[in-house]
C-alpha cells in the first residue's frame, strides 16, 4: 500500500497541495491537511463548487466544515461510506479510498494543454470541425423523414443538411423594371413595366429564385451582356478578377505600349509611304495576279525598302538625340540670358543716378521721406485693425485654452494607458510563452520519473497477483478433488454399511454371536458418525476463530482507543463551549431582568 500512498501524495503535490516532504504515507495526514487537500481536489474537479478550504479551530465549526466536504464528495459521485468522521477521526483505508476516487476524477493534463495552445486560423477551424463531429456523434439518431427538409439544427446554430440540393439553375431572362432611368426608356416599355410586367416572385419559383437573383446581380454588376451563359459569365468574372489582382504590372505595360505608339506615330510620317507600298504589294500578291518573276522582284524590292526603313529609323534616332542635346543647351543659354538682363537693368539705373548726383540724392531723400510717412500711416492703420482682432483672438484663445488643456490631459492619459496596455500585453505574451515552456518541461520531467517507476511497479504487482491467483486456483482444485473423494468414500461407506447391516440382520435371528456383532456394528457406526460431526464442528469453529481474529485486527488498525480519546476530548471541549455559552446567556438574561 506504500506505493499507492506514494502515488497519491505525488499527484497531490502535482496539483499544488502543500505537503511537507517528511510526510510519506496517508497515515501521517493530520485532519487539517486532509481537509486542505480534499478541498483542493474538489475545487479542481468542479471549480463552481464552493467548498471550505481550511479546518477552523472551533469544534462545532469543524463538524460543519467536514460534513459539508463529505457531502461535496458524495455529490460528485463517491459511493463509499463518508462523513465528518472520515476527516476528523481518520482511518487510513477510508482516506485512501477517498483520495483514489478524487485523483481519478481530476481533470487530465491534456485538457489543460488544449487551452494553453496558441490559436491561429487553422487550429480554430480544426477545433470547430472537431467540435461539430463530436456533437454529431454524441447526438441521437433521427430518421430522415423526421427532419424538415433534411435540416437538423444542433445545439450550436449550425444546421446540417442531409436533404436534396436544388441545383444552381438560374432563369437568365429575369425582367426587372428599371423605373428610375426614365430618360432612356420608351414610353411603351414604361407602360409595360407599370401595368403588365410580372414581379420577381412571379417569374421564379422557390427552386430558382435564389440562383436567379445571384446570377442577375452578378451579370448586371460585372458585364453589360444580360444573356450570358452562367459558365461564360464565370469565365469573364474570373478573368476580370485576375486582371484586377495585378494592376501595377498592367498599368506599367500599358504605359510602355503608349510610349511605343507615341514613338511610332512620330516616325509614321516617314515610313507611311513605305507601309503603303508594302500594303499594296501584299494585296497584289495575295490576289495572285502576278507570276513568280515579278514576285521575286517585288520581294527584293521589299527587302530594299525594309533596309531603307531601318536606316531611316537609325538616322531618326540620332536626330532625336541631337534635338534633345540642343534643347538642353538652349535652356542653359536662356537662363544665362536672364541673368545678364537683370544685371543690365541694375547697371542702367545706377548710370542714370550717377548722371546728376545732387538732384538725384535730393529726390531720393524726398522719396524716402514720403515712403516713411506712408509707412507710419500704414503702421497706424495696421494697429487700428490689429488691436481689436488681437483682443478677440485672445478671448477666443482663453476660451479654447481650457478645453485644449483638458483634451491634452486626456490625450496624455490615453497615451499612458496605451503604453501600459502594450507593455502588459508584451509581458503577458512573454509570460504565456514561459508558462507553456515550463509546463512542457514539467511534463517531460514528471513523466520520466514517475511513470516509469510506477508502470514497472504496477507490472510487478500484476505479476504477483497473477501468481497468487494461480495458487488460489490450485488450492481450490485440490479442495474440490478432496471433496469428491470424501463424497465417494461416504457413498462407499453407506453402501458397505447397508450390505453388512442386511447380512448381519439376517444371521442375527439365528446366531447369538451375530446378534452381538450386529449391535457392535450399530454402535460403531453411530460413534463414527459422531466423530465425523465433531471434526466438522471443530473445522467450523476454527473458521469462526479466524474470522474473529481478522475482525480484531481490523478494529486494531482503526486505532479505536486513540479515536475514542480524541472523541472524548472533543466532547469535553464541546461541553465546555456549551457551558460557557449557557453562562453567557444567563448573564445576559440577568442583565436584562436587572435592567
Amino acid at each position: 500500500m506504500d506505493e499507492v500512498d506514494n502515488i497519491i501524495i505525488h499527484s497531490l503535490r502535482q496539483i499544488g497541495c502543500n505537503i511537507e516532504p517528511d510526510i510519506l504515507s496517508l497515515s501521517s495526514f493530520t485532519p487539517e491537511l486532509l481537509v486542505e487537500t480534499v478541498s483542493m481536489c474538489l475545487h479542481l474537479i468542479k471549480p463552481s463548487m464552493n467548498v471550505p478550504k481550511k479546518l477552523p479551530p472551533g469544534m462545532a465549526q469543524r463538524f460543519t466544515v467536514t460534513a459539508s466536504l463529505a457531502e461535496a464528495c458524495t455529490s460528485i459521485g463517491f459511493r463509499g461510506d463518508i462523513g465528518y468522521q472520515t476527516f476528523l477521526y481518520s482511518n487510513v483505508t477510508e482516506v485512501r479510498r477517498v483520495f483514489m476516487f478524487l485523483i481519478e476524477r481530476l481533470p487530465k493534463e491534456s485538457e489543460k494543454m488544449v487551452l494553453a495552445q496558441p490559436l491561429d486560423k487553422l487550429t480554430l477551424l480544426e477545433n470547430e470541425l472537431q467540435q461539430n463531429i463530436r456533437i454529431q456523434l454524441s447526438s441521437p439518431w433521427i430518421p430522415q423523414y423526421c427532419m424538415k427538409s433534411g435540416i437538423r439544427k444542433y445545439n450550436s446554430s449550425y444546421p446540417i443538411l442531409s436533404g436534396e440540393c436544388t441545383p444552381f439553375q438560374p432563369c437568365i431572362n429575369l425582367n426587372i423594371p428599371n423605373s428610375l432611368r426614365k430618360s432612356n426608356i420608351p414610353d411603351k416599355q414604361q407602360d409595360y413595366w407599370h401595368k403588365r410586367s410580372p414581379s420577381v416572385f412571379q417569374q421564379t419559383n422557390s427552386q430558382t429564385i435564389l440562383s436567379s437573383i445571384i446570377h442577375k446581380n452578378d451579370v448586371a454588376s460585372n458585364s453589360s451582356d444580360f444573356n450570358l451563359d452562367p459558365e461564360e459569365l464565370m469565365k469573364s468574372i474570373i478573368t476580370k478578377n485576375l486582371g484586377a489582382k495585378r494592376p501595377s504590372s498592367a498599368v506599367d505595360s500599358s504605359k510602355k505600349l503608349n510610349e511605343i505608339n507615341h514613338v511610332d506615330t512620330s516616325s509614321s510620317s516617314s515610313s507611311s509611304s513605305i507601309a503603303d507600298k508594302t500594303k499594296s504589294i501584299q494585296q497584289q500578291s495575295s490576289s495572285g495576279q502576278l507570276d513568280g518573276n515579278t514576285q521575286e522582284v517585288l520581294n527584293s524590292e521589299i527587302g530594299k525598302l525594309k533596309s531603307a526603313m531601318d536606316e531611316l529609323l537609325t538616322s531618326r534616332k540620332k536626330i532625336l538625340a541631337d534635338i534633345t542635346s540642343i534643347k538642353e543647351a538652349r535652356t542653359k543659354q536662356e537662363e544665362a540670358n536672364k541673368e545678364l538682363r537683370n544685371e543690365r537693368k541694375i547697371r542702367e539705373r545706377t548710370c542714370i543716378l550717377l548722371e546728376n548726383p545732387e538732384e538725384n540724392v535730393k529726390k531720393m531723400d524726398m522719396v524716402l521721406a514720403a515712403t516713411k510717412e506712408r509707412m507710419n500711416k500704414l503702421m497706424e492703420q495696421w494697429k487700428s485693425h490689429k488691436d481689436p482682432l488681437v483682443k478677440t483672438l485672445e478671448k477666443s484663445k482663453s476660451k479654447n485654452s481650457s478645453s485644449f488643456e483638458k483634451n491634452r490631459v486626456i490625450q496624455n492619459e490615453i497615451k499612458v494607458v496605451r503604453d501600459k496596455i502594450s507593455e502588459i500585453v508584451d509581458d503577458l505574451k512573454h509570460k504565456n510563452n514561459l508558462h507553456a515552456q515550463l509546463t512542457t518541461e514539467l511534463q517531460k520531467v514528471d513523466n520520466k520519473i514517475s511513470r516509469n517507476a510506477y508502470t514497472t511497479r504496477i507490472l510487478e504487482i500484476v505479476g504477483n497477483i497473477r501468481k497468487q491467483k494461480n495458487d488460489i486456483d490450485k488450492v481450490l482444485r485440490d479442495t474440490r478433488e478432496l471433496q469428491k473423494e470424501i463424497n465417494n468414500i461416504n457413498g462407499q461407506l453407506d453402501r458397505q454399511f447397508t450390505v453388512t447391516d442386511d447380512l448381519l440382520y439376517k444371521t442375527a435371528r439365528r446366531d447369538e454371536h451375530s446378534k452381538k456383532i450386529y449391535k457392535l456394528l450399530a454402535t460403531l457406526h453411530s460413534d463414527c458418525s459422531d466423530l465425523v460431526t465433531l471434526v466438522q464442528e471443530t473445522g467450523a469453529v476454527l473458521r469462526e476463530m479466524r474470522d474473529v481474529e481478522d475482525q480484531i485486527e481490523n478494529e486494531k488498525s482503526r486505532n479505536i482507543a486513540k479515536n475514542l480519546e480524541k472523541i472524548t476530548s472533543d466532547l469535553k471541549e464541546m461541553e465546555k463551549d456549551s457551558k460557557n455559552l449557557q453562562d453567557k446567556i444567563r448573564q445576559i438574561e440577568n442583565e436584562i431582568t436587572q435592567g
Binding site: 410586367s197 419559383n205 448586371a220
Partner: protein, 196 residues
Amino acid sequence: MTLSLSNEVVEGLKGLGVEIGIELSKKLIANAVKLALYSDANIPSNPEIYATNPAFAKQSEYAVVTVLFLATKYGYDSQKLRNLLEQHGLVAAVLEEIVKVYDTNKKDLLINNLKIGHSLPHITDAEWRLTCDVKSSASDKGSGDLTYRISLGRYREKTGERESTVEFVCNPEELQSFIGRLKEIERHCEKISAPK
C-alpha cells in the same frame, strides 16, 4: 471577392422611403422576405404595395431580396450589412428595417442558401434481402451460394417515397469487408473528434 451590388439594386434600395412612403417601404420589405423564403406557402397578395408606383415597387422588391440573399452568401453580420447599406446612402428608417429583417430571418436565409448547389445524394436508409441461386438459365443446378441484395437510398422530401440511389449484390465475405470499411470510417470520425 467582395459583395458588389448592381446599379438596379442600388437604385431600388435608394428609392425606398423616397419614391414611396416609409410605411409602405416597410410593408414591401416584409412582404418580399416572406415571398422569397416561403414562396410555396399561400401568402395573400398585397395590392397596396403596387398601388402608387408599381414599376418601382417591382424593382425594389428585387433589390431587397438581392441584398438579403447576397449578404447571406457572403456571411455578413448585421453590422457589416449596415456598413454596406450606409455606403450606398439609404434612408435611415429603411436601412434599420432591412437590417432588422436580416437579423430575424438570418437562419432561414442561411438554410435557403445552403440548399442551393450541386451535391451527391445523401444516403439515409439501407434495405437488404438474402437471396440464393436455385436454378439459372445457364445451368440446371444452382450454386447454392447466399448473396445479399442491398439497396442504399433515401426518402424524397416532398412525397416521402423511397428512392434507391445504389443497388448491389455481395456475398457474406464481401459484406464483411464492406462493413469493415464502414467501421474504418467510423473509427476515423471518432479519432478526429477526440481531443488531441
